[in-house]
Amino acid sequence: MAAIAPTAGTARSARARSLKHDRRRALYWSYFFLVLFAVFFLTPPIYMLITSLKSSAEVGAITNPWWVYNPTLDNYKALLTSVEYLTFFRNSAIVSLVVVVVTMLISIPAAFALARMKFWGSATLATGVFLTYLIPETLLFIPLFKIFAWANETFDVSLMNHWWLLIIVYPTLTVPFCTWIMIGYFASIPKELDEAALIDGAGYLQILTKIFIPVALPGIIAAMIFAFTVSWADFLYPMAFTTSADQMVLPAGIVTTLIKGDVYAWGQIMGACLLGAMPPLLIYAFLMDYYIAGLTAGATKG
């Protein structure tokens, strides 16, 4: 025994050393890649910020593109006093917020039905919902043109070139994905919870509003962030379906009004993009913690 003990002790400390070594090596690599990604993803916004602080003359001059010699806020002043830019901003805000609400009103009940009320074909339907998300919008905008033209002929409703058209179109992008992630979230809620509520006297609507929505709130917030980001950033549909400046949203508006022929107002374009990126950034910053927090802890054993 006496002979074995020190050997075992040495082996243990050697093992601890090697674990520590492994851990350090893993950390080095993690930091290496994290820095690499941070540089890669932060370079464009920094370049945008630098350019937005330059006058047109300085942008055109042959100087160091990574440095501002005569910083100016003229670009921002011009943007924030421009009626057009503020209209884009307002249109974007209304469209995105309404799309989030519409998406939630459709997705939450749909996900609840598909996750919980086992009916004939519910599994196929759930997969079908996801498959529709896989069809790219570039394939859809021409058929959508046809549909709008048909609606115009049949019902005499002019859909084209109205900002609110996007409220009808964007849910085709957001609803399938949001429904899909919420099916997953709802499915992770223990079945006993709805059975307990059922016995307590709740109907399906009450189970949804009083149990599922509060318990799955992190998932719902994730879906809302997704819906907001998609409708805030989409470029193709507003380019295709809106033409006059007062009907445009930010992504299309910036490109159409700040590029005149072959004259690019680079400073203003960059400033407009940076300002436009602010709302999603703020939303992520404030809601991230909340939606990572596990709310389901304590529901059942575990």
């Binding site: 223990p190 802890a297 529901a299 054993k301």
Partner: protein, 365 residues
């Protein structure tokens, strides 16, 4: 009055039968435990009473009314789930009052009832906490409180203690019994643990393979099992089931097990005489009816010798395992009788407590 009656209840999942036509009458205020191995249909039966599963055939009556098509919320039942199923975003108070709030019971009455039940269960201090701030035993109490506060006709428990550790389980078992003695509500309780079943139940229903094997008081099931399954399932350590034969010689009936031949007590002999010479019989004898040699033996107790393979000291007794005709037999002996593995030991079989089982039908004769 809230008796529960099951009439030829059948449940199929697609084509797989889970419950094969059971009849059961549960009296008002009775505590009935459904017990059996996993897959025996006990939980399915409970869920059918709750209304969480449709019935394929037959009738379920609560308080005399057929409830086959009545939704769970209108059956006036309350259920405690194995994993508690507390609403995670609500406090204990909100959890307990959820059902009452849905029924639009006045606020002050809700709060009075919640306080009263919290008092019974000793969770008055926890009412403002969320489930994740509670220990397993506290969550279990809240789950029971949520059921009691609604003052239902029937309580349904679905293995409520199986998530707790052994010590807490014994404690909560006593708590459940106390609560039932206080509130006297008809209770159907499902468990796979026969000790829980025996300690809690007024009557135990032993289920196996979708059938009811036997219904009876814990005493009846222990002392007069009707089938081989019940004989082997109830009791710990389990009843010894030894292949045997009956032979009649010179007017007396003897039980043959391997090279042992023990006279059958005269009061049993008349009952078993018809089976003399039959093969496929099993002798069921509980471990406490095989014990160490004593100076004075009653009629029906017979000595024999065995060589123990394993001796397990339990403190108050020793469990001795020895082979007999290819079967391992357990005896409960005095710790001071000197039982040693490998050395011959004189034992006594008390055949007055013999259960003779027909192996082909599984019935106790």
């Amino acid at each position: 009055m809230a008796q529960v009656n099951l009439r030829k209840v059948v449940k199929h999942y697609d084509e797989t039968p889970a419950v094969r036509g059971i009849d059961l009458d549960i009296a008002d205020k009775e505590f009935v435990v459904l017990v059996g191995p996993s897959g025996c249909g006990k939980t399915t039966t409970l869920r059918m009473i709750a209304g969480l599963e449709d019935i394929t055939d037959g009738d379920i009556l609560i308080g005399g009314d057929v409830v086959n098509d009545v939704p769970p919320k209108d059956r006036d039942i309350a259920m405690v789930f194995q994993n508690y199923a507390l609403y995670p975003h609500m406090t204990v108070h909100e959890n307990m009052s959820f059902g009452l709030r849905l029924k639009k019971v006045p606020k002050d009455e809700i709060s009075r009832r919640v306080q009263a039940v919290a008092g019974i269960l000793g969770i008055g201090e926890l009412l403002e906490r969320k489930p994740k701030q509670l220990s397993g035993g506290q969550r279990q109490r809240v789950a029971m409180g949520r059921a009691i506060v609604r003052n239902p006709k029937v309580f349904l428990f679905d293995e409520p203690l199986s998530n707790l550790d052994a010590k807490l389980r014994v404690h909560m078992r006593t708590e459940i019994k106390k609560v039932h003695q206080k509130v006297r509500t008809t209770t159907v309780y499902v468990t796979h643990d026969q000790v829980e079943a025996m300690t809690l139940a007024d009557r135990v229903v032993v289920m196996n393979g979708g059938h009811i094997e036997q219904v009876g008081t814990p005493h009846e099931l222990y002392h007069s099992p009707q089938t081989r399954f019940v004989a082997g399932f109830i009791g710990s350590p389990a009843m010894n089931l030894i292949p045997c034969g009956l032979e009649e010689a010179a007017g007396s009936l003897r039980l043959k097990m391997g090279n042992l031949a023990i006279p059958v007590p005269s009061d049993r002999a008349a009952r078993y005489r018809g089976f003399a010479g039959r093969s496929g019989l099993i002798c069921g004898l509980r471990p406490e009816h095989v014990f160490e040699d004593r100076r004075h033996l009653e009629p029906g107790q017979e000595r024999f010798e065995a060589v123990p393979e394993v001796v397990e000291p339990m403190g108050n007794e020793n469990l001795v395992y020895f082979p007999l005709d290819g079967v391992e037999v357990c005896a409960r002996v005095d710790p001071d009788c000197g039982a040693q593995p490998g050395s011959s030991l004189k034992l006594v079989a008390d055949l007055r407590h013999l259960h003779l089982i027909d192996d082909s039908t599984g019935r106790v004769l």
